[in-house]
């Protein structure tokens, strides 16, 4: 059986731990159950001790990590339920289904808690465009994300799509779902009451996805393609029915506890419900609706077939509940009951296939304090010592046409971002804004991370990922409330990778604490590695904020001519780890820009107030590509040019393209701009008037004018051409 345990991805000492725990050798089904519960994906065994250090509380947090999704109070009796999750490995093997089921899984996490999903976002990372697989992966993942969300009927309102060679053999597909519930009717997974029926709902169980969670817990070798059968197949139609049926059932008052069958399927959902409720669970697998005949107990316990739910129902409401599911054409079966013996008992065809202590299955999972070494500090680069690669005019056009900065319209036009009729700010700006029902109130949503910063300095990179999400929300006029994270890293058994993980978490924690921006849900995805090469450390951050009146939400679009352009925040011309350095000079060195958390808070609060007081006509936060790129994006969005007369002191290329943090561009009427300057100085916020809007050109100091249509073309042409098969793009 030890051999079987090793084949299940368990270590020798983990197998010995199982034998010691149950006092005998496990059956094959039991071994499958342990491998499902104790793999990295479900047990967080490498990450748990570090995750505990994150700030997760605030007065507005209703439920932090530990449930299907986090819950925050957004006022007026409303709660926002949200989480981000990865589906990296499946998407690399089978991009359409991998991405689609990633979206389906996170939607289920949200509506399991009683929330109706109102928005989706994502964070996608692909290999370099020249890699032979990249184009097919982009096409498949984007179609899959859209295919699921569009059919389910939730708008995909934001995201981030970037490219780097470290993802050549291991792409990242992180999906975030946001739902709306009443704050006093949130549903949880803890079972209650002895002898209550355990009800299986949704689609039938098939042989798909068996050991999906174990696959997600191992590195890829050259045989990744052979793992295709472990990828689940999504059915958004069934999920839409499941959503409506579940919400109807919850409203009927029949539901005591509910848990979706996600990673590790029936095993993980049943064990969690019992363990959290201090109850045993007895399952009769003969009653499980199966898609094919002859499925074994082992297969049923490990299947990751999608669109399934497990519930504990009030016995007296059983008939009413069944009628709701019959109406929606979904399977409904009583497959077990709660018990008081704290055992997880699984029977099939009269045979006891598993009899395990339910609490220990989760609680006694191994916890590792893996060795970690900090990433060596990179030297701070002196901007004066970095020669300009080319004229600043040429550099701007070249940067706008790079894979990371070019327009992602090709991507988000395949997502229905307008359904539900509440998308106040669509993709293509700092953060999406989604109105709540017919009210003035709205949610402000974003996803972000700058992985190259995290690689160069995990602590600063972790801090930066959080502050950028906070900045994106603030720039729109939103009050940032809480975040979800998806921690994508390589093999944690390597001390340097574990060092990246520990460092990033430290940075995330510091920034979240300083900004009162707690982490309420999240996911850890380790072993993102192919044939020994790990990805850049990529702790994706999904931020949620609230704006009291969506009519006040800012835009990035330049509003017309004759307005003053202000730069908020201090500019030192930080080129280390900038896109300018990487994409135009081919250099990946230097320390990333440092994050001053106090300046972030001061500047962000200042800008948010400008937006809410209607003093700012347009706002954009500065990030990848720096000042010049942000200005170009604002000009493109507004179809209006701009002329810059003064810049912060320093070498022009460093000032235009440096990626100093805590900065924004704010556009205002000239008289208002003077008042804003005075106010900024009064509260210690660095501010500089750069120039004015107007015309059909971008004019940078000392450079020939750039026609707006050339700026537009540079940014908008590359991705559609690349996806149409043009290999000269991004070459």
């Amino acid at each position: 059986m030890l051999e079987a345990a090793l084949a299940h991805g368990l270590k020798t000492e983990e197998y010995e731990r199982i034998v010691a725990l149950i006092g005998r050798a496990p059956s094959l089904t039991e071994l499958g159950i342990f491998s499902a519960m104790w793999n990295e994906h479900c047990s967080y065994k490498s990450s748990r001790i570090h995750l505990r250090k994150l700030p997760t509380k605030a007065p507005w947090v209703i439920k932090g990590p530990g449930e299907n999704a986090g819950v925050i109070d957004i006022g007026g009796g409303d709660a926002c339920v949200f989480k981000m999750e990865s589906h990296n490995h499946p998407s690399f093997i089978e991009p359409y289904q991998g991405a689609a089921t990633g979206v389906g899984g996170i939607l289920r996490d949200v509506f399991t808690m009683g929330a109706r999903p109102i928005a989706c976002l994502n964070l996608l990372r692909f290999g370099r465009p020249a890699h032979p697989k990249t184009r097919r992966l982009v096409a498949g993942v984007v179609a899959g994300v859209g295919g699921y969300g569009n059919s389910f009927g939730v708008p995909t309102v934001g995201g981030s799509t970037e490219f780097d060679e470290s993802y050549d053999g291991n792409i990242l597909v992180n999906a975030m779902a946001v739902g709306l519930a009443r704050a006093d009717s949130i549903f949880y997974s803890a079972a209650a009451g002895v002898g209550n029926p355990i009800v299986y709902l949704g689609s039938k169980t098939g042989r798909d996805g068996i050991h999906g969670a174990s696959m997600a817990s191992a590195s890829f070798e050259a045989d990744a393609e052979e793992k295709r059968p472990t990828v689940q197949v999504g059915d958004p139609f069934s999920e839409k029915l499941l959503l409506e049926a579940c919400l109807e059932l919850m409203a009927s008052g029949a539901v005591i506890a509910i848990q979706d069958m996600g990673a590790a399927g029936l095993t993980s959902s049943a064990v969690e419900m019992g363990a959290k409720g201090n109850l045993g669970i007895r399952l009769d697998l003969d009653a499980v609706p199966c898609r094919e005949e002859g499925m074994t107990a082992y297969e049923m316990m490990l299947s990751e077939s999608q669109e399934r739910m497990l519930m504990v129902l009030k016995p007296e409401k059983e008939k009413e509940a069944e009628a709701i599911f019959v109406k929606w054409g979904l399977d409904f079966a009583i497959i077990g009951k709660t018990t008081d013996d704290l055992r997880f008992l699984v029977e099939h065809k009269g045979v006891v296939e598993a009899d395990l202590p339910i609490k220990e299955l989760g609680d006694e999972a191994p916890v590792y304090d893996r060795p970690h070494v900090p990433t060596p500090k990179a030297p701070i680069l002196d901007a004066d010592a970095i020669a300009p690669a080319r004229s600043n005019r040429e550099a701007l056009l070249a940067l706008l046409a790079t894979p990371d900065l070019c327009s992602k319209r090709w991507v988000w036009e395949q997502y229905d971002h307008l359904i539900l009729g509440n998308t106040v700010r669509a993709p293509g700006g700092d953060a999406a804004v989604v109105r709540i029902r017919d009210e003035r109130k709205g949610l402000v949503l974003t996803t972000d991370v700058t992985a190259r910063y995290c690689a160069a300095d995990p602590v600063e990179g972790g801090r930066q990922a959080v502050v950028e999400a906070w900045r994106n929300i603030s720039a729109r006029g939103g009050q940032p409330l809480a975040l979800t994270d998806n921690l994508n890293f390589g093999n944690p058994e390597k001390p340097e990778i574990m060092g990246q993980f520990v460092g990033c978490l430290q940075g995330i924690g510091e920034a979240a604490r300083a900004l009162d921006f707690p982490i309420v849900s999240g996911n850890v995805s380790l072993y993102n590695e192919t044939q020994g090469t790990g990805i850049l450390p990529t702790p994706a951050i999904g931020g949620v904020g609230v704006i009291s009146d969506v009519a006040l939400a800012s835009t990035i679009a330049l509003p017309g001519g004759g307005k003053t352009i202000l730069l908020i925040g201090e500019t030192k011309g930080w080129l280390g780890q900038s896109l300018y350095l990487r994409d135009l000079s081919g250099r990946r060195d230097g320390a990333p820009p440092p994050v001053d958390l106090e300046a972030e808070k001061r500047n962000g609060d200042f800008v948010r107030a400008l937006v809410l007081e209607r003093r700012a006509l347009a706002v954009h936060d500065l990030s990848d590509g720096g000042l010049a790129v942000a200005l170009a994006e604002m000009a493109i969005a507004g179809g209006v040019g701009a002329t810059i007369d003064s810049l912060p002191s320093g070498p022009a290329h460093a000032v235009l393209f440096g990626e100093d943090q805590a900065r924004y561009l704010v556009v205002a009427e000239p008289a208002e701009a003077a008042a804003i300057e005075a106010d900024a100085k009064a509260v210690g916020v660095a501010v500089l008037a750069l120039g004015a809007t107007g015309g059909n050109e971008l004019n940078l100091p000392g450079e020939a004018p750039i026609l707006l249509c050339d700026v537009q073309h540079a940014q908008q042409a590359p991705l559609p051409a690349y996806m149409a098969g043009d290999d000269s793009v991004f070459a």
Partner: protein, 228 residues
């Protein structure tokens, strides 16, 4: 104006549609489940909303077009009752024999969601009286299979009898080229039945009823219906 919105398994813009109808008419529409066989008494307008009925796993609209409620919808239309199908609803009207032609996969084989200009081809119908003939409006589109196709004879008849309701165009009202998002014949975005009491269109006017959310160019259609 009493409206009924038909809900199929997989419909997903029924709520958007109900909201637009309620705002324009002042009455919440009846939501009618597909397995019903009768419309509520006194129904003036039947609406088939957008979505992915039955997952679109068979031809779009093919299963819904044969749903139990559809006999009642056909009878309503045959009596001259107003009938509107948007997106998946348009596909269902074609599959259900209420409108000619078929919606095929978009020419570039990709789902497309964007703001799109339309040219209002005639303003003398119950659906378009609050627009001007030739007016350019901007509404949302969101579909993977909106490429309208019919045989030459049908196209000639639609054109000859003035049954084209809306055409895809650019902001200046010019049709053709990149203004056509899906390859539809003659840039057709929506068509009327012979008696002009049935309208099918791919775009989503129901998502353009609020100045805070994209604009109000979709309101005209609902206000026309409310006044009809």
């Amino acid at each position: 104006m009493r409206a009924a919105v038909i809900v199929f398994p997989g419909s997903n813009r029924e709520g958007d549609m109900a909201r637009a109808l309620a705002r324009a008419t002042g009455h919440e529409p009846a939501m009618v489940w597909h397995s019903q066989t009768e419309l509520p008494a006194g129904t003036d307008l039947v609406v088939l909303p957008g979505g992915f009925s039955y997952g679109d796993y068979l031809r779009c609209g093919a299963i819904a077009g044969r749903a139990a409620i559809m006999d009642a919808v056909r009878a309503h239309a045959a009596r001259g009752g107003l009938t509107l199908g948007v997106c998946n609803g348009f596909q269902i009207l074609c599959e259900g024999g209420l409108l000619p032609g078929v919606l095929m996969r978009n020419a570039n084989l990709r789902f497309v969601c964007r703001m799109q200009h339309l040219r209002v081809e005639r303003a003398d119908t119950a659906f378009t009286s609050h627009y001007r003939q030739g007016q350019t409006i901007e509404v949302a589109i969101a579909h993977g299979e909106g490429n309208y196709e019919a045989d030459d004879e049908t196209i000639a008849r639609l054109e000859g009898e003035g049954l084209v309701a809306f055409r895809y165009c650019d902001s200046l009202g010019r049709v053709g080229g990149e203004a056509n998002p899906n390859g539809s014949r003659n840039d057709i975005a929506g068509i009327f039945s012979e008696r002009r009491n049935v309208l099918g269109l791919m775009p989503h006017p129901e998502n353009l009823i609020d100045p805070l959310v994209g604009g109000i160019d979709g309101r005209g259609l609902f206000e026309s219906l409310a006044a009809a």
